[in-house]
Symmetry: C2
Subunit: 332 residues, 2 copies
């Protein structure tokens, strides 16, 4: 099914819905790139809600997230939640938006699933998307759902603020730690405790996995939890040990949420957060517009000469904001 | 010199300039509190530039920053940069804006300088200041300079994004680490390497100070540096060992900057950044206004029902932004 008009989102969207992976990859590129094309893809995906269940996998660099994701792909492909099916993977590295590293990573990972048409793996960076990854990732997840993916893994690299935010955009968030003193505490400091639905102690054949489990349990004891207490799984991703049990734990969290109708509420909350982020990003664009303006240069001169203070300078500049910039049609 | 009108910034400012410490403390409270009072203090301070040299002291909790600052106060009081003089200290803890901990910390520290009129120590939190600490701290530093303080120490607790930002607002930034494996690497991860003008290995009598120095040197070798390569001092704050040498190193950095005319350029850059932050904070206030509005509720309903996507929702909402909100007179 060759795609005839590569730059036409509706045609690409239809093709992707019929299983065209090249079209799907192009749609994701449009999202990454931002601008009107991205906007159109987002609108199409929003009008066609799918039923994808998304699983975020996050943790410190070196914890073995990629290998673990690779193993989870195989289990999800074979068993799914209600029988095997297609699997999509988004690998996110906010810290290196233009790196060839991500692409290389794709290829390495693709090795074990290269011959499997049912697995779609894509690295994702942001090039020009309004609001960066915080907004590009929800768009991408909705797209993958809209084209019929039943399971989407979202793997993040690093544990910065943005990774935590992005990982929290999934239905189940898995936080990967390793055995060893302090790993659990580092995860807590990085804000991962708050977003974890499940913990995995990967490389659990190494010494002190028990100690890490105790640390995590203690930290959970000290945290105000909802009805769900995060389970703690143990895996050795390199051999595949424990991965089936981890998948089962993910399934239990999914069941917990769907039985209580929590998933809809969760998605509603995420949508509201996204809405706020779009508004924030729009206003942010206007700051950039302002600082590029001729008024900015004049006001800045007055400020640097000591004539007016920075608050007065901001007042003068913002008094010149035209209201019609607010409802602009493009988002990049 | 009793202050007659406690809520009148010009009177307080004049009194503080004549050495009234109660007036100075009240002005800082006004800055913390934000709003028109803060704005007026900022304007007064801006119109009266002083000659304070500011030294930021940052690093992970437990590194011994408070004890070190306490020692530095004594040296700065005795020697200054060009002879002894007054010293002001701002202790910042963004993570606990309302904590009594900060106030307790004051009292503990005050012990060693309680009888010295030449030392002014103040904890600072933000209560309502527009833009939070990122904007309150520059205002406070300008105030302390305007009332004639020659040396101001800014001590931050914690190593979050905001602390790094705040610490970078000083003329010389000192990053405190401890001996031991990984401490230098943690400092690097926290973004402290980028802002450090000087490193101090405090508790240098503990094992592995040499290892930490090697780590730091290596990381500096791997970093693109300007003309100034951060010096690495060693101290034992609890005994005072090395503190004179640290003060001398701070002085060398100051001389380096003043000889090359870098301080003016640095302050110019900071002023521009501050200006941008004020604009950002102003626009941020408008987001809050928007999400409190009746339009927001209506647009949100349409979005959650699937009628419009979040981008469309943002467009509709922002189309209703009134221009006259931009040039508001108050900032809180």
């Amino acid at each position: 099914m060759p795609v005839t008009r590569a730059s036409d989102p509706p045609a690409l969207f239809e093709a992707a819905g019929n299983g065209d992976r090249v079209a799907l990859a192009r749609l994701l590129s449009l999202i990454e790139r931002g601008g009107p094309g991205s906007r159109e893809v987002a609108r199409l995906a929003y009008k066609t809600p799918g039923a994808a269940y998304s699983v975020g996998i996050t943790g410190a660099p070196g914890a073995g997230k990629s290998t673990l994701t690779d193993r989870l792909i195989a289990v999800a492909r074979r068993d799914g939640f209600d029988g095997g099916g297609q699997v999509a993977v988004l690998a996110i590295d906010p810290s290196s938006p233009f790196s060839g590293g991500a692409i290389l990573g794709d290829r390495v990972r693709m090795q074990s699933h290269a011959l499997d048409d049912g697995v779609f793996i894509r690295s994702m960076a942001t090039r020009g998307h309004l609001g960066g990854l915080s907004l590009a990732v929800p768009d991408a997840l909705r797209l993958l759902s809209a084209v019929g993916m039943p399971v989407v893994f979202l793997e993040t690299v690093g544990v910065g603020q943005q990774e935590v935010e992005v990982a929290a955009a999934t239905d189940t968030t898995v936080v990967v730690v390793n055995p060893g003193w302090g790993d659990a505490i580092q995860a807590n400091k990085a804000g991962l405790l708050e977003i974890a639905d499940l913990f995995v102690i990967n490389k659990a054949d190494r010494p002190n996995a028990d100690g890490t489990r105790r640390d995590l349990e203690l930290m959970l004891d000290l945290t105000e939890l909802g009805e769900w207490r995060p389970e703690i799984a143990e895996t050795v991703a390199s051999t595949g040990d424990g991965v089936d049990a981890l998948w089962a734990a993910i399934g239990r969290h999914r069941t917990h949420q769907s039985e209580r109708g929590l998933i809809d509420e969760l998605r509603r909350q995420r949508l509201l957060r996204e809405f706020r982020q779009i508004i924030a990003a729009r206003l942010d664009e206007r700051i950039t517009d302002l600082t590029d303006s001729r008024e900015f240069a004049g006001v800045t001169r007055s400020m640097l000469s000591g004539e007016i203070d920075p608050y007065e300078a901001a007042d003068r500049l913002l008094a010149g904001v035209r209201p019609d910039r607010a409802g602009g049609e493009t988002d990049a």
